[in-house]
């Protein structure tokens, strides 16, 4: 469960200060599929970094599964990311010269999972993300964009995170492939009860989530159930 209370983030640029977040407060329950939507420069990336334990807020608190993440050191943040968070990036960020399996197993390298168990875990996640088995041993740069993003999703799932953060996951994909990837997220949310936060600037993409938090100029301007999804 995510509990964010009045978090702000101020960047210092020389003498001037820039407040990217001006006090965001919300809760996300386990098993929710939430979209954080806003135009570029709205502060959604800053929020994503804080939710993903890549950064700490200037003020306010962020509880992830009951643990205060807002005041941790770099190494403690790394532990949180390793244990509780799975990232899916717009630019995929796979290791180009490594096989699909090795890419998916990468987070386990930094974990305490036994070497013998890793492959089975990775294969299971790749299947869950919907990648054909005959692609498992391909190099990641031999795959199409949609396939690459499904590998990235499998990588995000492999350490059983409490939260999956997808940062513009369809930004580099065509609409049709994007739909497939978003469908994968929906399926993982429904079938496996995964908590998913989707960061996007596109309303169409945000429509795939059950709840949409809209952010503008560092403020949350709306936070509502997505009626479109509820009807379906």
């Amino acid at each position: 469960m995510i509990e964010v209370k009045g978090i702000t983030k101020t960047y210092k640029m020389g003498d001037s200060e820039f407040q990217a977040l001006k006090g965001a407060t919300f809760k996300i329950e386990d098993g929710e599929f939430v979209a954080i939507m806003g135009p570029s420069g709205s502060g959604k990336s800053t929020l994503m970094h804080i939710l993903g334990a890549l950064d700490t807020p200037t003020s306010g608190t962020y509880f992830l599964d009951g643990k205060d993440v807002s005041t941790l050191s770099d190494d403690e943040l790394a532990n949180i990311r390793r244990e509780k968070i799975g990232f899916v990036f717009q630019a995929f960020n796979l290791l180009p010269r490594a096989t699909v399996l090795r890419n998916v197993m990468l987070p386990l390298v930094y974990d305490t999972v036994k070497r013998s168990e890793r492959k089975a875990r990775a294969e299971e996640m790749l299947k869950a993300a919907g990648l054909d088995e005959d692609h498992f041993n391909h190099l990641s740069n031999q795959l199409s964009g949609g396939q690459i993003q499904r590998v990235a999703i499998a990588r995000a799932l492999v350490n059983n995170p409490s939260l999956i953060l997808a940062d513009e996951p369809t930004g580099n994909l065509d609409t049709q492939t994007g739909e497939i990837v978003l469908g994968t997220f929906q399926r993982l949310n429904k079938e496996q009860g995964r908590t998913i936060i989707l960061i996007t600037h596109e309303p169409d993409v945000a429509q795939h989530a059950e709840r949409i938090i809209t952010i503008r100029d560092g403020n949350i301007v709306s936070d509502a159930k997505n009626l479109h999804q509820i009807i379906i």
Partner: protein, 407 residues
């Protein structure tokens, strides 16, 4: 992080850019192999010089005549030119100086020597039977000069193996043959064993005749060219040298030691002078090689820095999925240590091989010292750590957010 994982990551990172890893490693290979080879050359030169000094004799003190001086005038001829030492001096040394093993005076000269149809120009040494003890000379066939030869001033000669090959066809037994030195016929009674070595007067290219014979037929006086004194042990050479000096000063009635008409040389002094020269040579060669090793190390640092920049996004990703700063720095440090480790091993093998080839082809005497291998290996490991540390720290300190956005 598991050790196997680190090695796997290292392997895949280095094999990902084989050409660059190979070239970087080459810098270390060249550095290490030149350290090994250069030190081996220095070491070889040192031991070859030491050996040839040892071959002159052991615990040896050489007494040579001083410069010739006119009465009261300061015009001096070259050192050793004076005729101031006699065979009586040699006898006196043998009788009155303690800790002396043997004394051998000699009368030297270079003359043309002929046998049947062949001739050579070589050093003729007129000496005494004790010469073999003093100069560690051994006889291959026949005998050395005897006391009887000395008293009778017989015209007999003992030749060195080089002289033998110069004057006689291969397979001819030189014993009993006659050679002519300065037109005088000498009968060969022995051949010395080859000692090898060159410089410092190879004793293989000498003819030994009785001292009395040399004085009677060649020099025409009672003086000797030098007196070699062998002390009983290395510890006593210093005292023997001092005692010999005192005795001779006394015998020559000289009160001021600075005006001595002879000089003494201690073999240990010669050896240490020679080894200080080769030590400088070794240091010089070693430092040139050391510089190339440092250049190789900088090459590693350069490659690692490039690699950190190139892999910024990868580092960002690794951090995002839970790698700590220490995981990242270990990975880069291991990469650079791995490069220097493999490069160092290859360099040791190559350097050893170069030293062996130089030796094998007879270009230069080399000897690979074990310490240089450990030194080179230690240095290469240290280079890996030192030159890998900065890039590794830089990678570890990267901010994951900025690293992920890096284009």
């Amino acid at each position: 992080m598991h050790v196997l994982d680190i090695l796997e990551e290292t392997y895949s990172a280095l094999s990902g850019n084989k050409a660059r890893s190979g070239l970087t490693m080459l810098g270390i290979v060249i550095g290490i192999s030149s350290v090994i080879a250069m030190l081996a050359i220095g070491q070889g030169a040192q031991s070859s010089i030491t050996n040839s000094i040892q071959s002159i004799g052991s615990n040896l003190i050489m007494v040579q005549p001083g410069a010739q001086r006119g009465p009261g005038v300061t015009v001096s001829a070259g050192r050793g030119s004076a005729k101031s030492l006699t065979s009586a001096d040699a006898t006196a040394i043998a009788q009155s100086v303690s800790s002396v093993k043997a004394v051998a005076a000699e009368v030297d000269g270079r003359y043309q020597v002929t046998s049947k149809g062949l001739n050579t120009n070589t050093q003729i040494v007129g000496t005494v039977p004790a010469y073999t003890d003093v100069r560690n000379l051994s006889i291959d066939t026949g005998n050395f000069i005897s006391e009887l030869d000395l008293t009778n001033a017989t015209k007999v000669a003992v030749i060195g193996p080089t002289v033998q090959s110069d004057l006689f066809a291969a397979g001819t037994d030189p014993l009993g043959q006659t050679i002519k030195i300065k037109q005088l016929a000498f009968k060969i009674i022995g051949v010395t064993k080859a000692k090898g070595g060159s410089g410092f007067g190879s004793q293989d290219d000498m003819i030994f005749i009785p001292m009395t014979t040399a004085q009677r037929y060649f020099s025409g006086d009672q003086y000797v060219s030098s007196i070699s004194v062998a002390a009983v042990s290395a510890d006593t050479t210093k005292t023997v040298q001092a005692d010999v000096t005192t005795l001779l000063l006394d015998r020559h009635k000289i009160t001021d030691p600075t005006k001595a008409d002879f000089s003494t040389l201690n073999q240990a002094d010669i050896a240490s002078a020679a080894s200080s020269v080769t030590q400088i040579l070794t240091i010089l060669l070693g430092s040139v090689a050391g510089i190339s090793l440092v250049v190789g190390g900088i090459g590693i640092m350069n490659m690692m820095l490039t690699s950190v920049t190139e892999r910024t996004r990868e580092i960002g990703l690794r951090k995002a999925i839970g790698a700590k700063g220490s995981d990242i720095s270990v990975q880069f440090l291991v990469e650079s240590i791995f490069l220097t480790f493999i490069g160092g091993l290859t360099g040791i093998v190559l350097g050893w091989f170069i030293a062996w080839v130089l030796n094998y082809l007879g270009i230069m005497q080399t000897s690979v010292a074990l310490y240089s291998v450990f030194l080179a290996f230690g240095v290469s490991a240290a280079i890996g750590i030192v030159f890998g540390y900065y890039p590794a720290r830089r990678a570890a300190k990267l901010n994951p957010i900025q690293a992920l956005r890096f284009e």
